[in-house]
């Protein structure tokens, strides 16, 4: 392999021009003839049985084709979680449930000729509810005599539904009790995180239709086309072969679209009426009735010896999975598995989690997948420990973090729904990250200085982070690469680009392997009929798995190209052939051929065959990216308002295949993390109804709210990753919550134990401290 031509280059994002000119076609950008519009009716009660439901008036409304309720839709219990089969989430949902389990649960739906008709018809549906006592707090879920949320006999895969426990995790390595006795210093604290949602600006939207063969075609804004296909087939009780799922351009997902939300309903309407069907969520429906991040209460206890080396860690989690259990077990597994290995010097580690049902919105997948919650707690408690020991927080991290060549028992002990896989760290630049990050923020000049300007005080905080690159032995992606007569290639793969730039990066990887330009790779993705399988865009698996699959296919195609070149050049040994600049060059003879000559020869002239290869990628490795984040804030003592001033995100993601795209991931994840830390939360009334289901009161950062963000990329080479790369997609969302909380402590000596750190809470704590 010759020097790098496409790796590490800021190649233009291949869909960028199409997006800036408004050409790109998103799910809702097409309109089909005779299309039905679906509107949903939602439960006003947190816990209620549907005793009677009269849809006759709605059905009679002009333009209405169909009214769906639990009475006339398939009775197949399933999970809505977009995960590999068999899904590690309880089967606890029906398309339409007979029991409503949260304010926002789906009661019924109307499919009509227009949105207006559907909305009017919804008002004509009469429902008689039997209101049941509700569980509105995770602490109440497991109490004796708590109302049972999932009492349906068909439920499977839940740990103990009679006690509202959707899942339970217990991991013990060594004996933390004994180890803590030996600690010179211990700190224990409990941090709570809130209901929130990373809101993609494009809402959930699905359009289904029948193709000319009577198969159901689902166009949907999704992260998981193949899981959609399987689960829709399951729910509709039709064979998978009768379903095709296409992911068009998608306006962000962030985990909320790792779920089957609208697809089954649309597909069923199409199946029953023969007509295309469209459903789209309003912003309120997005927030209330799709998927949120799991709120967690996390108690961390950490102990260290006299030298400041951690000797024991325990993490106990109460996770609120809301009314249905999707992703409940796996998110909570990740909370432990993506944080605890960082402190691998611990001789004893304990991780326990109870994932409980409540009559509140449904938690699912959200970027970070349990890790943001973990770090919100862990990196505050480690900070507290550092202060208790009189040690500089950065120094404390430096002494304790996992290093190259090392492992942690947590990797194997804590998988996602099943046992994990042992990992050895093969690339880790944490020391460099700590150094460069600390320098950039001005750690030594500013930390502990409480620089004051009137009532405003500055503080600096930091957090040390890791994540993973796909789920070892679970995430699989495949790719097919075929060659065209002009020396270009079609890459067909299941990689699911949500705007992240995965298609661009995949084309860079293939281009590097074949000695061509990324523009010579035509990428087509995420169509279950035409592209090979891929689990989808989650777990930071895009580059590592989907990209690697493309690489493997390219390596195979490379061999085929060399074979043809050998024949054409009459050389026996292909070992000295290199692919460069669109040509195959024999180093021994100096002769060369263009790729176009090779393709034409094999397509039309001699030894006729299509140069094509398919490859699958599943990895026993999930190499963690690492990061060190540093936040500078200014907090106003009189108002409690925290203003982030500067944020440094130093990250090691192995080789950055496209540094500009990587930086985009850093900026985006940090901005989402800042919202998580400071402004984003679901506010409920006493009946569990979300009050702030709109951007008017669910506050996400605008362009004017952003601090200066400085991404720092430290390059390492991950031998198990494509061209040395690791993931970058999720890790940076883990940093802001603890870094800002630690900065607040530096500024004012206060810690607020529940997120978000709103001004009112900060002020209350300031007053309390006085």
């Amino acid at each position: 392999m010759t020097g790098r031509r496409s790796i590490g280059i800021n190649e233009e994002k291949r869909d960028a021009m199409s997006l800036v000119t408004g050409q790109a076609v998103f799910t809702d950008d097409i309109s089909l003839d005779n299309m039905l519009h679906i509107k949903m009716m939602y439960s006003p009660y947190p816990h209620a049985l549907i005793e009677e439901i009269d849809t006759s008036k709605a059905e009679a409304y002009p333009g209405v084709a169909m009214v769906l309720t639990n009475k006339n839709t398939p009775r197949v219990i399933h999970t809505t979680a977009g995960q590999g089969w068999p899904e590690p989430s309880p089967y606890d949902s029906y398309m339409f449930n007979g029991k409503m389990r949260f304010v926002g649960d789906r009661v019924a739906a109307v499919a009509a000729d227009s949105e207006e008709a559907a909305c009017e018809a919804l008002k004509l549906i009469d429902v008689k509810y039997k209101i049941l006592p509700a569980v509105l707090d995770a602490h109440d879920a497991m109490k004796e005599n708590a109302p049972v949320i999932h009492d349906e006999p068909e439920i499977t895969g839940a740990y103990d539904p009679k006690r509202n426990i959707a899942a339970k995790i217990e991991m013990k390595v060594g004996d933390v009790g004994e180890e803590f006795k030996k600690s010179a210093y211990t700190v224990e604290d409990t941090i709570s995180t809130q209901y929130m949602q990373i809101t993609p600006i494009e809402p959930h939207v699905t359009i289904t239709c029948l193709d000319e063969y009577g198969r159901i075609v689902i166009r949907t804004s999704t992260q998981v086309p193949f899981h959609v296909r399987r689960i829709v087939a399951q729910v509709l009780e039709i064979p998978v072969k009768n379903v095709r799922v296409i992911k068009p351009r998608t306006g962000g997902g962030f985990g909320t679209k790792q779920e089957i939300i609208l697809e089954d309903v649309c597909a069923y309407v199409t199946l029953k009426t023969g007509r295309p069907a469209r459903a789209i969520c309003s912003r309120k429906e997005e927030l209330m009735s799709t998927r949120t991040r799991h709120p967690m209460e996390i108690t961390v206890k950490i102990g260290a010896d006299r030298g400041g080396i951690v000797n024991a860690v325990s993490m106990h989690v109460l996770s609120n999975t809301g009314a249905y259990g999707s992703h409940g077990l796996t998110v909570a597994s990740n909370t432990g598995s993506k944080s605890l290995p960082l402190y691998n010097k611990a001789k004893a580690i304990e991780y326990m989690a109870d994932i409980v049902y409540t009559n509140l919105p449904v938690s699912g997948a959200n970027r970070g997948y349990g890790a943001p919650q973990a770090y919100a707690a862990l990196e505050q408690v480690t900070d507290e420990l550092a202060y208790k020991m009189g040690m500089d927080p950065v120094e404390f991290r430096r002494k304790n973090h996992i290093r190259e060549g090392e492992t942690s028992p947590v990797f194997k002990a804590l998988g996602e729904g099943k046992e994990g896989v042992e990992q050895i760290i093969r690339s880790c630049a944490m020391d460099e990250l700590l150094d460069r990050g600390a320098k950039e923020i001005g750690w030594h000049e500013k930390h502990g200085e409480h620089i004051r300007n009137g009532s405003k005080v500055r503080g600096i905080g930091m957090a040390m982070l890791m994540q993973g690159s796909a789920i070892a032995m679970v995430d699989m992606g495949a790719a097919t690469l075929k060659m065209n007569e002009d020396g270009s290639f079609n890459l067909l793969y299941g990689g699911t680009d949500l705007g992240t730039g995965l298609d661009t990066v995949a084309s860079q990887i293939v281009a590097e392997t074949l000695g061509v330009r990324p523009e010579d790779i035509i990428v087509y993705a995420s169509d279950t009929d035409l592209t090979p399988f891929d689990v989808g865009a989650y777990a930071s698996s895009g580059l590592y798995i989907s990209g690697s699959a493309a690489w493997k296919a390219a390596m195979s195609v490379r061999e085929q190209i060399i074979d043809v070149a050998k024949e054409m050049l009459g050389e026996i040994d292909g070992k000295d052939f290199v692919l460069e600049g669109g040509r195959v060059i024999s180093r021994s003879s100096g002769k060369s051929l263009s790729l176009s000559e090779i393709a034409c020869n094999s397509l039309y002239v001699d030894n006729l065959h299509q140069i094509i290869a398919s490859a699958s990628m599943v990895s026993p490795y999930s190499p963690p990216p690492f990061a060190a984040h540093f936040a500078e804030i200014e907090v106003d003592e009189e108002t409690g308002i925290i203003k982030p001033i500067k944020y440094v995100a130093a990250m090691d993601c192995g080789q950055a295949i496209n540094p500009e795209l990587v930086k985009g991931q850093v900026y985006g994840a940090v901005s989402e993390g800042l919202g998580y830390a400071l402004t984003e939360e679901y506010i409920f009334d006493k009946s569990g109804k979300m009050l702030n289901g709109s951007f008017a009161d669910y506050k996400i950062f605008s362009a004017r709210d952003m601090p200066e963000i400085v991404p720092i990329l430290a390059e390492t080479y991950e031998p198990t990753g494509p061209y040395g790369a690791k993931s970058a997609a999720e890790i940076n969302i883990n940093g802001p919550a603890p870094a800002i909380a630690n900065a607040l402590y530096d500024a004012l000596g206060i810690r607020i134990k529940d997120f978000p750190l709103t001004p009112e809470k900060v002020l209350r704590e300031i007053k309390r401290k006085r």
Binding site: K13, G251, R283
Partner: protein, 160 residues
Amino acid sequence: MEAVYRINGKEKRFDISPGDRLLDVLKDNGYMEVKGDCYEGLCGACTVLIDNIPYASCMVPAAGVCGAKITTVKGLGDITNPHLIQQAFVKYGAVQCGYCTPGQILSAYALLLRDPDPSEEDIRMALDGNLCRCSGYAQQVAAVKMAAEMMREAENDDRA
């Protein structure tokens, strides 16, 4: 009722309902480059220019802007001939999922029309109605700054 608009330089006659939002009329008539989301004027995905001023088209009653000059992102340039702002967004990594992008570009265009040399603060103020989840806004602000420079240079070249 009938309504006439001048969209991207072309006169268009549509049959609209009195309560239609401008966003509805545009989407019903094939202007899919205008995105819709919150229907509260708070996300900016539906931004269009009316007489070169950016508005959230979901909040504009269509019946009230009959005869107006409306510009969508397609009115600025296309793939074969993109506007300098569109080129800058592509060049400076300012596009991720692209859903907020048409709105951002129009807001940037309106800014640069009235201020050819905006400060970073001016740019953030002009883009503050276009919410983005993917990007943290950093690359977009940089792209607008570069677009301003590119446009000033092009203006100087034209004059030279």
